[in-house]
Symmetry: C2
C-alpha cells in the first residue's frame, strides 16, 4: 500500500518540521528517567537552554503544551489580589489574560488592533498612573497576527517601574535573540514545537531571582506546575515527575545543532525569511496584516485574504496540489487572513516554493 507521495510541508506557526537527526534521537527506546544517563542529558540540555537565552536564571523543562508554561508563568508568581497588566494583541495574549483572570481579579488589559503592536510608551502611560502593579504579561510574538513586540524597550519600562516582566516567547525563542539577563526578563517561557524544531510536548520556563522572591510570597494551590518542585529536583539533576524523556533527548540534539550553527546565524536566517516573505507579498500585491515593519514578526507572517480566492480555497489548493500547509486566521480573523509560519527548520527555498505555489494557484502572471 506504500506509494511515492510528497510529504506534508508545515508552513504553519507550529508544529514545525523536525530535522531527521533529531527524529532519530527521539525515535529511541525511552530511557529510565532516574538513570545517570538521563540526568546527564537533562543537565546538559538545561545548560544549553540557558546558553541560548543568554542567561544564568534557572531553566526548567515541563512536560506539557506551551499553555502549561503560560499557566506556570502566572500561577507561581501572581497572587489573587495582585494588580497585573496584560498586553493583548491577539489570541495568545487573550489566553495569557484569561489565565491571569482565572488566578487574579485585578487585570488591566492594554489591547491593540489586529496586526498592530503596543509601544513601550503605551505601557509606561499605564504604569505611571498607578505604582501598585506587580507584573506585566507580555506576548513577545503574537502568533495569531504575526506581531513582535519591542521586548527590549518594554522590559526597560518594566524595570523602571520595578514590576515583574513575564514573557510568552513560545514562538520567538530560538527564532529571535532574547538576551534574558541583559534585558532583565523575570519569567520567559517557550515550547518545543516552534523554532526549537521538535514535536509538541515540552514547555520550557526561565525564572529570575526576582521572580523567586515573588514565588516565596505566592499563595496559589499548585502541584504539577509548582516550579519549586522543579527547582528542588534540578538540584539533584532530575525532574519531579516522569518527563517526556524522548523529547528531552531530542531537545538536547536540537540545542547542539543550534550551537554548532551559531545562534546569530539562526536568528539571522529567521530575519531573512521574514524579509523574503514580505517581499514576495509586495511583489504580487498581497496585503499584509502587519503594515508597520518595526512590528513584523520574524517567525510568522499574516496575509490578508486575496480577492480571487477564499482562505479556505487557497489552503485547500496548497494542500491538495503541493502538500503545503499554511494556517487560517483565528477567531475574528478566521477567513480574513492566512498565516505562514517560517520558524525552525525552514529555509529560503521553502519560501521560494510557497511563493511559486501561490503564484500558480492564484493564476498570477509572475512576469507582469
Amino acid at each position: 500500500m506504500t506509494l511515492i507521495k510528497e510529504p506534508n510541508l508545515l508552513l504553519i506557526p507550529g508544529p514545525t518540521p523536525v530535522p531527521e537527526c533529531i527524529m532519530k534521537i527521539i525515535n529511541s527506546q525511552p530511557m529510565a528517567h532516574r538513570s545517570v544517563e538521563f540526568s546527564q542529558i537533562l543537565t546538559e540540555t538545561t545548560k544549553d537552554l540557558q546558553w541560548l537565552g543568554s542567561t544564568s536564571n534557572d531553566a526548567f523543562i515541563l512536560t506539557g503544551s506551551g499553555t502549561s508554561a503560560m499557566e506556570a508563568s502566572i500561577v507561581n508568581f501572581i497572587n489573587p489580589h495582585d494588580k497585573v497588566i496584560c498586553l493583548v494583541m491577539g489570541v495568545f495574549g487573550e489566553r495569557l489574560a484569561q489565565i491571569a483572570q482565572a488566578i487574579a481579579s485585578n487585570i488591566t488589559i492594554i489591547k491593540s488592533e489586529p496586526g498592530c503592536g503596543i509601544e513601550a510608551s503605551e505601557l509606561e502611560s499605564v504604569l505611571k498612573q498607578d505604582l501598585n502593579y506587580k507584573a506585566v504579561l507580555i506576548t513577545h510574538n503574537e502568533t495569531s497576527t504575526g506581531v513582535t513586540l519591542k521586548l527590549k524597550e518594554i522590559a526597560a519600562i518594566c524595570q523602571k517601574y520595578n514590576v515583574l516582566t513575564i514573557v510568552d516567547a513560545i514562538t520567538s525563542f530560538a527564532a529571535i535573540d532574547i538576551p534574558i539577563d541583559e534585558w532583565g526578563l523575570d519569567v520567559v517561557i517557550t515550547g518545543s514545537q516552534k523554532a526549537l524544531m521538535l514535536p509538541p510536548g515540552l514547555a520550557m520556563i526561565f525564572v529570575s531571582a526576582k521572580a523567586w522572591t515573588a514565588y516565596d510570597l505566592n499563595q496559589n494551590a499548585k502541584f504539577y506546575l509548582d516550579l519549586n518542585k522543579y527547582r528542588k529536583s534540578m538540584a539533584n539533576n532530575t525532574t519531579p515527575f516522569t518527563p517526556n524523556v524522548n523529547l528531552i533527548a531530542g531537545l538536547n540534539e536540537s540545542l547542539k545543532i543550534i550551537k554548532r550553527t551559531g545562534k546569530e546565524a539562526v536568528f539571522n536566517r529567521h530575519k531573512v525569511l521574514k524579509t523574503l516573505v514580505r517581499k514576495f507579498a509586495q511583489k504580487f500585491n498581497f496585503d499584509l496584516l502587519v503594515t508597520d515593519e518595526s512590528f513584523a514578526s520574524n517567525s510568522v507572517t499574516s496575509f490578508k485574504a486575496p480577492k480571487q480566492l477564499s482562505v479556505n480555497e487557497l489552503r485547500a489548493s496548497l494542500k491538495e496540489q503541493y502538500k503545503i500547509l499554511i494556517a487560517d486566521g483565528q477567531n475574528e480573523l478566521k477567513g480574513k487572513i492566512f498565516r505562514v509560519g517560517h520558524m525552525g527548520y525552514i529555509f529560503e527555498r521553502d519560501i521560494l516554493m510557497l511563493e511559486n505555489a501561490l503564484v500558480n494557484i492564484m493564476g498570477i502572471n509572475p512576469h507582469k
Copy 2:
C-alpha cells in the same frame, strides 16, 4: 563509532519498552494539530480508550506526565471545603494526598503498611462514621510497593455511600481489566509510559456524568487542567492546546494492537507474568514485599533486598552485565527492596532472562 551493543531492557515500573511498530508511527514528522487528519486520529483514539476502559464516559488526552492527570482528577472535582478520603499505600498514594491537601483542607488518610493493601471494609468503617465525604481517592496499583487494591469492592462501597470514586490507574490501566461503567468509577486516570507501551508525555482521564455534576460546582482556579476546555474542544474533535500529536498517533497504534490482540489476552499476559515472577522468587528464596497474594500486582513486583548483595550492587550488576534495568525502592524503602516492572511490551521470555540473570549474579545454584 557504532558498536554492536545490546540495548537496555526496561524492567522498571515505567517507562516501559515501546514496540517497533509504535516507534515508527511516533517517528513521523508532526501533523498539523488542527488538520482533519489529526482530528480523525484523536477521535478514533478516544473511542478506543473508551473501548479499553469499557466505558461511555468522556475520555480526554492531556499532554503531560501522569501527575498532571492526578492533579486534574482532583482540581476539577474537589472544592476547598470538601471532605475527602485518600487511600495511601506508598509514594503515589502520598502524592495523591499531597495534591488533595494543596487544594482542600479536610483530607482523611487511610494508610497501610508498606506492601500491604487496604480492604473495602476499612474504607467502609470510615465512611459510615461520617456521611459528609465527597470523594475517595484511590491508587489502584501502588507502583512503589507492588500492591493492587480490590477496586471493584472499593468502588461498590463508594457507590453505597454516594461518594465520588477517583482512581489513579496509571500503572494498572491496560494491564488489569478496569470496567469503568460496570464498577461505577467516576474519574479514572492513566499515563502513556506504562502498559500502553509508549514513551512518557501523555496522560489520559475518564470522567463520568456524576463527576461532571461535581465539576459544575467547582470553584478552583484552573486553566491548563480545566477539563471543561477539553470537553468543549472534543465536541469539535480537537484539543484546547497544541497536543503531543506524535504520541497521540502512537497511542492510536498502541490501542489498535491491543484491540487486535484482544484485551482479555493482554490482561491475562500480565497475570501470567506476575505469577511467573512470584514463582521464581519463591524458588530461589527471595522474600517478596507483598505477601498477601490477593493484593499482589500484575504489573510490578517488589523483592526484599537479599542478604548477599545490596540493592545498589544488584542493580549495577544487572545493568553492567546484561543491560537489564530494574528499580530501587523509593523513600523509606530505598535500598530495602528492588522493584521489577512487568507491564506493557514484556513477555514470559523477559522474565526467564531476569530470573537467570539474577541467578548468575547472586551465585545461586539453580539445581540445588
